[in-house]
């Protein structure tokens, strides 16, 4: 997946209103967000990520690292 597409879909998924949403933008995932992100990753990357690993996700960049850089193109 292209990173800009990923960021745009993640922004929509998490209902983030901020005009700028970058890899470094801080994230604070609620429990519902956690489930939404798990579905999003399973659906788009066929990868099941652990809830406890999502606790350490504080930005889209952290999530990209968790999914694996190799699954993204620039």
């Amino acid at each position: 997946m292209r990173k800009d597409v990923f960021l745009s879909e993640l922004k929509e998924l998490l209902e983030i209103d901020a005009p700028v949403f970058l890899e470094e933008t801080p994230l604070n995932l609620t429990s519902i967000d956690t489930l939404s992100v798990m579905v999003f990753v399973d659906e788009n990357f066929n990868k099941q990520i652990k809830a406890k690993d999502l606790k350490n996700v504080n930005s889209p960049h952290d999530l990209i690292q968790l999914i694996g850089q190799e699954n993204f193109n620039h």
Binding site: T30, S31, I32, T34, L35, M38, V39, D42, E43, Q48, I49, K50, A51, K52, L54, K55
Partner: protein
């Protein structure tokens, strides 16, 4: 010897708690957003004096209004909320229902997979010639195990009971089973205290996590995201194996009933498995997740609404606490 489901009833306790009531207790809780995600508007709860055994009696009496109780020769009772550690609740139920003393009765402790497991036990008892008219009761009162401040689980779970008769029959109405177990997830849905390992203690402290969720080892703890992960990994495989074991495909199945866990989970499983909406039961709006009672409630509801008609092949799948999962195909 063949077996089939010949009768189902369910019963929900009178007390109701709505999302609006929960919202008053937890003003910070985005109730509308939660309702949209979990698909639940209200749940029925037992009173402090009522237990799962009481629900089991009520639902069985309802069933006996149109079924002769003298025919029952075995009780299978599924609950995780027994009145006592011992004796076996099924023995109390036999007595309170005035059933013959010349019958078998046992409890089994399973949650959301319990109904399908109960069907497998009933089928086995009939095939072995041990019983011919089995009363399978699934009754649950998780509300008894929920911490007053546990807004998450209080939004999801409701109390309820179902009674199902499985009878010896001419044609086979209960197909082959796929059963699964993985105890590595046992701590993700657990009531830690109160058993033989850890005693219930008034001194057990509440723990509040970063999302404001309160837990306490005297009460039910559920790691929702881990349960969700288990489900999306295992249930599509369960469905496929169940279909294979019954020489069927999604196209040749008439209807599908999963354990009614929550809307978010079911929506995703349906999408992942590419199940058409019209073949997929989804309704927990006015019941909540009633654990082992959700599938028979859904089954009865589907029959009453003619979503399922005679001769239909219906895939059932239950999954949850344990972890434990089970699937089969029935013909009504």
């Amino acid at each position: 010897m063949n077996s089939a489901i010949t009768k189902i009833e369910y019963f929900l306790p009178d007390k109701i708690i709505t999302n609006e009531q929960l919202s008053q207790e937890f003003p910070e809780w985005e109730t509308n957003k939660i309702a949209e995600k979990v698909g639940i508007k209200l749940r029925h709860l037992v009173s402090s004096e009522e237990t799962a055994t009481d629900l089991a009696i009520r639902v069985s009496e309802k069933l006996f209004e149109s079924y002769d109780r003298k025919k029952i020769d075995f009780i299978l009772y599924c609950t995780q909320s027994p009145d006592y550690i011992l004796p076996t609740s099924a023995c109390i139920i036999q007595h309170k229902l005035g059933l013959s003393t010349n019958i078998g009765a046992l409890d089994f402790n399973l949650g959301c997979s319990g109904f399908v497991y109960g069907l497998s036990l009933a089928k086995g008892l009939i095939m072995a010639g041990i019983a011919s008219e089995i009363l399978l009761i699934t009754a649950e009162t998780y509300s008894k195990h929920l911490h007053r401040l546990d807004k998450g689980n209080r939004s999801i779970f409701g109390d309820g009971a179902a009674a199902t008769v499985i009878s010896r029959s001419e044609s086979e109405g209960i197909g082959n089973f796929d059963l699964g177990t993985d105890g590595k997830g046992f701590e993700n849905l657990i009531i830690k205290n109160g058993g033989a390992k850890y005693h219930y203690s008034e001194e057990t402290k509440d723990i509040t996590d970063e999302n404001g969720f309160v837990s306490n080892d005297n009460y039910l703890y559920m790691n929702g995201p881990e349960i969700f992960n288990f489900t999306i990994q295992n249930i599509p495989l369960l469905v496929n194996r169940t279909l294979t074991k019954n020489n069927l495909s999604l196209e040749t199945i008439d209807y599908i009933i999963f354990h009614q866990a929550n809307k978010f989970m079911l929506d995703y499983l349906r999408k992942k498995l590419k199940i058409p909406v019209e073949k997929f039961y989804q309704n927990m709006t006015n019941t909540g997740n009633t654990v082992s009672a959700t599938i028979p409630i859904a089954l009865k509801d589907s029959i009453d609404k003619k979503l399922i008609i005679k001769g239909n092949k219906v895939l059932l799948a239950g999954f949850g606490v344990g972890y434990s999962w089970a699937g089969t195909v029935i013909e009504i």
